[in-house]
């Protein structure tokens, strides 16, 4: 990944350092960025400050323990943490494990593909921009949907999803997945 490493976002570099080197300083940096956002996220879905911090603690420890599963070619750090956060919230609320798809395991020693990682990051940047450009009520809808406050029937009745952005993200993901699966089959 050598020179192009500089262009990859700090978050991703921290996460890779946690994954590959068990780097505590990088983990602390991830904490500084994500813990207050996670707390805000949990409180938005109705938890008290105390309950929110308990889940933040749980999520941060899960990030540390499951770091080996982080694949920057397939997920943005925030996307990966988002899913962990929602899972923990649900597992705790329902006291049962949420059904998750089989994990795709990256071949050990797979060479990092900086252009793919950067491509995902650019997509994520576009997504965030699209979010900030939405009308307030549309943005509120998106937040509600991804905070788990809307049923799928309610989501399908909404038209405000930035679908164009999701579509190009899907295309990017598909290219990578096909590439990975081809490698696996060889």
């Amino acid at each position: 990944m050598s020179q192009s490493n500089i262009e990859i976002s700090e978050q991703t570099q921290w996460m890779i350092a946690v994954r590959d080197n068990r780097d505590r300083a990088a983990f602390a940096a991830l904490f500084d960025f994500f813990a207050p956002r996670l707390k805000g996220f949990m409180m938005r879905s109705g938890l008290s400050a105390h309950q929110a911090e308990e889940i933040v603690q749980d999520v941060m420890l899960t990030i540390w323990r499951k770091a080996a599963m982080f694949d920057p070619h397939r997920a943005q750090v925030s996307a990966w943490i988002y899913q962990i956060a929602r899972n923990r919230q649900i597992d705790i609320a329902r006291k049962e494990r949420r059904p998750m798809p089989e994990e795709l395991k990256e071949e050990p020693g797979t060479e990092a593909d900086a252009s793919q990682i950067l491509g995902l990051e650019q997509e994520a940047g576009r997504l965030k921009q699209a979010l900030t450009k939405l009308k307030p009520e549309q943005r509120e809808m998106i937040e509600k949907a991804y905070l788990g406050e809307l049923t799928h029937q309610e989501i399908s009745a909404q038209t405000g999803l930035p679908l164009g952005t999701i579509k190009s993200r899907i295309r990017l993901g598909l290219e990578r997945l096909r590439h990975e699966l081809k490698d696996l089959k060889q």
Binding site: R24, F27, A28, F31, F34, A35, P36, R37, L38, K39, G40, F41, M43, R44, E53, Q57, L61, R65, A75, Q76, S78, A79, W80, Y82, Q83, R86, N87, Q89, R94, R97, P99, P101, E102, E103, L104, L120, E123, A124, L127, L131, E143, A145, Y146, L147, G148, L150, T151, H152, I155, Q158, P162, L163, I166, R169, I170, G173, L174, L177, R178, L181
Partner: protein, 211 residues
């Protein structure tokens, strides 16, 4: 194996990513994603939107001790979550719902068999075994029904469903799925309500059959 042509609707994937699908449906969605590249990357795209929401949400300062509390626990022993691998035709989430055991088929008549994996007031998930040429007992839906084909195929008024295909049926669809010739059709079926079989099984018997 022919390509999957019936996928998870976008809104359902978004609700799944957000963790707001009933458990029974989540088992089916997780199973389909395990089999389907297209829905896997679509799910990843929804997770990316969730990630963007997380990054843009109003942050709330955490208490001063939280960071050190967490750093102090990094080396603490912990129990890793169990991983359920695919086994034959059954994807990981089905193996998890089976709790690692083999299916225990119960006869429903006409060669049709089922194994109820979970059932409560919020819905049920079961495996269905339908011999070739045999119809799934005629039924209407009081809620939504998701059917994922794991082996063989079936056809009904809306089309043909092969391995990996997902059929979504609501109250308005009165359909008669019939297993195609060839291998017996094995499906994973979930409802968010109890099925009402119109003719074959009197309503009184429903609790007995749990269908």
């Amino acid at each position: 194996m022919s390509a999957i042509t019936h996928h998870i609707p976008d809104a359902m994937l978004a609700a799944y990513a957000a963790g707001n699908l009933p458990h029974a449906f989540a088992v089916v969605v997780a199973s389909h994603v395990s089999l389907c590249e297209q829905c896997r990357v679509a799910l990843e795209a929804h997770q990316a939107v969730g990630g963007a929401v997380l990054e843009e949400i109003a942050a709330v300062a955490v208490s001063s001790s939280l960071k050190n509390d967490i750093l102090a626990q990094l080396d603490a022993p912990f129990r890793p979550e169990p991983v359920y691998e695919r086994n034959g035709i059954y994807p990981g989430p089905v193996i998890e719902a089976l709790k690692g055991r083999a299916p225990r088929w119960k006869k429903l008549g006409m060669g049709v068999r089922q194994d109820i994996l979970t059932a409560d007031t919020n819905g049920s998930v079961r495996l269905l075994y339908i011999p070739p040429g045999q119809a799934v007992p005629d039924h209407s839906h009081s809620g939504l029904e998701l059917t994922l084909v794991l082996q063989g195929s079936f056809s009904d008024e809306t089309g043909r469903f092969g391995v990996g295909d997902l059929e979504i049926a609501d109250e308005d669809l009165e359909h008669t799925p019939i297993a195609d010739d060839g291998e017996a059709c094995i499906c994973l079926a979930a409802t968010d309500a109890r099925l009402r079989f119109r003719a074959l099984v009197p309503r009184l018997l429903q609790p007995l059959f749990q269908i």
